[in-house]
């Protein structure tokens, strides 16, 4: 559906994106992950035709981006505003006029749950309501590919869950989705394929579950640092990663490690065991945390 070949974007000597290549097949939810400043928003804005690459090629259905792309793509930007003093229903009607092929507004109102604030001035919407309206605008032309740039940043947990639910509905319509996020659980929940970016380059690419399976054969045991003696050493099955007042013990054999901890008379009241996440993968690949 979309191919990017050796994309680069430079700003006054800074390489925001440095030689990125990937292909997005039709019907998948494709995630771009990385910390702030990794280059994912710049990459996605080049894909959206908003920014011009310094070098490299982007093709949509085998053609350079053009009017066809603008007619068939729906975009929900991370930072955007709507004209002021205009009601939600009027905004939808205006955007509907921009396209030749559109979805009925009533359908979008239902899909994005806009009914309760349909006649409200756009300036008076809450964060979650505004995101739902922006999602509806992105879907108004019944797009074949939908770009969602950090759609849940700044939303409360309930609004985030609501948006995930709406994204799953879009996925169920067999549309291609391109999602950028720095929430690893979001990518894990929604994406079929991801690329992880850092410092303008791709550091990992693939299906999220397969990526984790390929990089990890262990589990994560977490204990507060205060529960451990100062000279604490790991057993043979594990390695130690102290951080933020916690000790993360990556263990290939959870049973053996817990027996070892018990034998050392370490209090296990606050012990937690979990599977590795994309967050751990990022830490493993870059040596630093995603959200720093």
């Amino acid at each position: 559906m979309i191919e990017a070949e050796n994309l680069c974007k430079y700003y006054a000597g800074v390489k925001a994106v440095d030689g990125v290549s990937f292909a997005i097949p039709r019907g998948v939810c494709f995630g771009l992950l990385g910390p702030n400043g990794a280059g994912k928003t710049t990459t996605v804005e080049m894909l959206e035709g908003i920014k011009t690459p310094s070098s490299g090629i982007i093709r949509y259905k085998g053609e350079p981006l053009g009017q066809r792309f603008r007619n068939e793509a729906g975009i929900m930007f991370q930072h955007t505003a709507l004209q002021e003093f205009i009601r939600v229903d009027e905004v939808l009607k205006m955007f509907q006029q921009f396209y030749s092929h559109t979805r009925p507004i009533e359908e979008l109102v239902e899909v994005c749950a806009l009914e309760e604030f349909l006649t409200r001035d756009t300036r008076k919407l809450s964060g979650g309501q505004k995101q739902r309206l922006l999602l509806a605008i992105a879907l108004i032309n019944d797009p074949q590919v939908v770009f969602l740039d950090e759609p849940t940043t700044g939303l409360d947990p309930q609004s985030r869950r609501n948006l995930w639910h709406q994204v799953r509905r879009i996925k169920a319509e067999n549309k291609t989705l391109v999602l950028t996020t720095h929430y690893m659980e979001e990518a894990f929940e929604l994406c079929d394929e991801i690329i992880i970016m850092d410092h303008g380059v791709i550091i990992a690419q693939g299906n999220p579950k397969e990526l984790l399976a390929n990089h990890f054969d262990n589990s994560v045991i977490t204990l507060p640092l205060s529960a451990l003696p100062a000279d604490f050493r790991a057993d043979e099955a594990s390695t130690l990663h102290p951080q933020d007042g916690q000790m993360e013990i990556l263990s290939r054999d959870v049973d053996a490690t817990i027996h070892y901890l018990a034998a050392q008379h370490i209090p296990l009241k606050q012990l937690q065991v979990r599977s590795p996440t994309l967050e751990d993968l990022f830490l493993e690949l870059t040596g630093h945390h995603l959200r720093t």
Binding site: E48, K51, E90
Partner: protein, 332 residues
């Protein structure tokens, strides 16, 4: 160009303008208040200085040498005799001296003319009388105030608004649709033109109710001047908004353009007698041409042929600024 997309963008901008009650109220009330203020301040028709036009050069001008030394009289050298006689007729100057032929024109109904005439008695010059009715300052200033209102509305209503759209992401959102830059800019121009015409007609009518001002020319011609003048000013706004990304920078630049334009375009006072540099600078400002044309139509009843130069100049300004503005326009 898709008319459907153009109309959608036009309607959105119109709604935004009409529902912003504070800005709309300001656009309507400010010019009426200014005109009322001037009508009150100048209700006696008095001006500080006596104005005397001096036509022609002569060796005999020494004959009136003492008169030319009179204090508190502004002596203005003039070239066009016919036009200046008209000005005496309309009380725009108090007396006109023809130095070469030892004669003067005075308006028999003008108190200031009468006083100046008394000072001329010893020189035994030939008297030529006219008796037209007075043109009050408020008659003279109204085209300027309306022009100024149009200028501020056009510059800030297009220039500032597009920069704000660019900064807060409205332009980015619109760019991701099939709406072209041409369609978007045309909608902004059309919307502002409609609003300016509507507001100016309302302000004109409202002001006329309060201050019954002079309008002896053709309303259709005045309307044409309004449209071309507004378009030229909107196109300046478009040029300013083509690339700027900061509202503060846009505000500064718009003020830098609008204030000299307000002061140098003859809105408040006539530039006759001012330094030639100022007069030439004024010709480079679209507001000068709009106000000049509107003034001669309203006060002197000038016809299309009399204002062709100004209309053509306004058209050229528009063409030039719109071309550069749309060529250099950036969504981001």
């Amino acid at each position: 160009m898709s008319i459907r997309r153009f109309l959608a963008a036009l309607q959105a901008r119109n709604l935004e303008f009409l529902r912003d009650r504070t800005a709309l109220g300001w656009n309507l009330i400010m010019p009426v208040l200014i005109v009322m203020g001037f009508a009150f301040a100048f209700s006696t028709g008095q001006e500080e200085l006596y104005k005397v036009g001096l036509y022609g050069q002569s060796d005999q001008d020494l004959a009136v040498h003492d008169f030319l030394q009179t204090r508190y009289v502004d002596f203005i050298p003039v070239d066009e005799l016919e036009r200046m006689i008209e000005k005496v007729d309309r009380h725009q100057i108090d007396l006109l001296l023809d130095l070469k032929n030892n004669r003067y024109w005075v308006n028999s109904t003008s108190p200031k003319g009468y006083l100046l005439e008394q000072l001329l008695t010893p020189y035994q010059l030939k008297r030529e009388a006219v008796s037209g009715s007075e043109i009050r300052y408020v008659d003279w200033v109204i085209p300027g105030v309306l022009g100024m209102n149009i200028m501020f509305s056009a510059l800030f209503g297009v220039g500032y608004v597009i920069v704000r759209y660019r900064k807060n992401g409205v332009l980015k959102r619109l760019r991701a649709t099939p709406l072209s830059a041409f369609e978007f800019l045309s909608a902004q121009i059309a919307s502002r033109l409609l609003m300016i015409v509507a507001v100016t007609v309302l302000v004109y009518a409202g002001t006329n109710l309060v201050v019954d001002f002079r309008m002896i020319g053709s309303y259709w011609l005045l309307f044409l001047i309004l449209v071309l003048g507004a378009l030229s000013m909107i196109s300046v706004g478009l040029l300013v908004a083509a690339r700027i990304t900061s509202e503060e920078a846009a505000n500064g630049l718009l003020n830098l353009i609008s204030w000299p334009m307000m002061l140098l375009s003859g809105v408040w006072f006539s530039l006759e007698g001012s330094h030639p540099l100022v007069q030439n600078l004024a010709l480079a400002l679209p507001l000068t041409h709009m106000v000049d044309a509107a003034r001669v139509v309203m006060i002197e009843g000038a016809g299309l042929a009399d204002v062709t130069d100004q209309l053509f100049t306004l058209f050229l300004f528009t063409l030039c600024f719109v071309s550069i503005g749309s060529k250099t326009f950036r969504w981001e």
